[in-house]
Amino acid sequence: MDTEFQWFGLDTTDPGPSLRRAGLGLPSRMRHDGLVLGRSFVARPTGEVDRIEESLWWSEASHFADDGTIVALVQRARGMGAGEAVVVRFDPDIRRDCEAGNEP
């Protein structure tokens, strides 16, 4: 048995407005390896937190595919009750691999 107790960087006392807007409460979805898809962020099992585009918020509902990608709905608000809903496939591993210097 190997039990870990990890803290993600979701302390909402952070003065940055973006983290406050990141969404409180329990994360909506978690991949088998512990990757968490929050309201506007992805928190990795290592504790790293990647924000997604400021204007996008994940819908609370999302689906992890067997290959580890995520199908989710994001919304771009354009005023009161208006906007654009986009179903996206999201590969949370692309950016990490790329920024590590590996070819995308």
């Binding site: 048995m1 190997d2 039990t3 870990e4 107790f5 990890q6 803290w7 993600f8 979701l10 302390d11 909402t12 006392t13 952070d14 003065p15 409180l24 409460g25 329990l26 994360p27 909506s28 978690m30 088998h32 390896d33 512990g34 968490v36 928190a43 099992p45 997604i52 996008l56 819908s59 609370e60 509902a61 999302s62 689906h63 595919a65 199908v71 989710a72 709905l73 994001v74 919304q75 009161m80 009750g81 208006a82 906007g83 654009e84 809903a85 986009v86 179903v87 996206v88 496939r89 999201f90 590969d91 949370p92 591993d93 692309i94 950016r95 790329c98 920024e99 210097g101 070819e103 995308p104």
Partner: protein, 318 residues
């Protein structure tokens, strides 16, 4: 090196309701990843208000196009009480008619992961053969809701729980589809509740309506008996991938412990514990092939006021 965006748009849909409570949700994705269901509408979280509307769109994810759509709106009786209220993937079974349940059931059977964070979701068995959902009382003088089992077409098969419950929550199928686990509230001291975790064999209910109808105080090995781990009541559960064990979360004095319960015999063992104060709300998330994942919500007092932290507990099976 330019890193590509990790977001690949599959389908886009503008909306403009001109009101504050517009809502758009992804209901689910098909197991082959080729279709998705998106619901949108007005009325926000108040599904039962006159004028609220819902549209459910079936999306072709390969083509990025809409395949079909269904418009639904609530109806009301003469007294203004809701009769049929569509919701965003969360049925309010007392006000959704049989056709509505059947229709959503057909979607539910095809959806890989029905989004169950709302109230009263329809849950599909992994093999798509069965659906289960909470149903509100049929009669005004009965203060109890219950779990309805249906086939994939939405046909009613029977009631799941044999004992009289005041409320039932979080039904889930075992990976092999043979069991349903749920939380039940037994009446306690007037309107109070004794919460427990229960497991019922699906076949008993699916094969025999007669048995189910007479199942109060049933004779099955588990029927009506709560999962009891060291005298404590379960506070959340997840089936193990083998379908033969159930992980049950129990909050103890200064820790939260997960017990592994053998479904047929109810033999249990303490599996993993983490330090958790009474104010920490620990919740089981998944029991996947690699291990068990739980999260907790912790309220902290920092220099800038109250905040929340989300610890994650992971336990590997090996």
């Amino acid at each position: 090196m330019d890193c590509p965006s990790p977001l690949e748009p599959l389908f886009s849909m503008p909306y403009d309701y001109g009101e504050r409570h517009a809502m758009v949700e992804l209901l689910g994705v098909s197991t082959d990843q080729e279709r998705a269901w998106v619901a949108h509408g007005t009325g926000g979280t108040t599904y039962d208000q006159p004028g609220s509307r819902r549209t459910i769109i079936e999306v072709d994810l390969l083509q990025g196009t809409e395949r079909s759509r269904v418009e639904v709106a609530p109806t009301f009786d003469a007294a203004g009480e809701p009769l049929h209220v569509p919701s965003l993937g969360r049925l309010w079974p007392n006000v959704v008619d049989e056709a509505g349940v059947a229709w959503l059931g057909q979607i539910g059977a095809d959806v890989a992961a029905w989004q169950g964070h709302g109230w009263f979701p329809v849950v599909a068995s992994p093999d798509g053969r069965y659906l289960v959902h909470t149903r509100w009382p049929d009669r005004a003088d009965v203060d109890a809701d219950w779990l309805a089992l249906r086939d994939a077409a939405g046909r009613y098969l029977g009631r799941v729980e044999p004992a009289v419950m005041r409320a039932v929550y979080e039904p889930s199928f075992s990976p092999d589809g043979e069991y349903i686990a749920y939380r039940g509230c037994r009446p306690y001291r007037g309107r109070g509740c004794l919460y427990d975790t229960y497991v019922e064999p699906v076949a008993d209910h699916a094969r025999s309506k007669r048995r189910l109808r007479s199942a109060f105080g049933g004779k099955g090995p588990l029927q009506g008996r709560p999962i009891d781990v060291n005298g404590a009541r379960g506070d959340g559960h997840r089936f193990a991938p083998d379908g033969r064990h159930l992980f049950v979360l129990v909050h103890e004095k200064a820790q939260a412990c997960v017990f592994r319960v053998q479904v047929e015999t109810q033999q249990h063992e303490r599996w993993a514990c983490v330090q958790a104060e009474p104010q920490d709300r620990v919740k089981l998330l998944t029991a996947g092939q690699r291990g068990l994942v739980a999260v907790a919500r912790r309220t902290t007092t920092g220099g800038r006021g109250l905040g929340h932290r989300v610890p994650v507990v992971r336990t590997r099976y090996d």
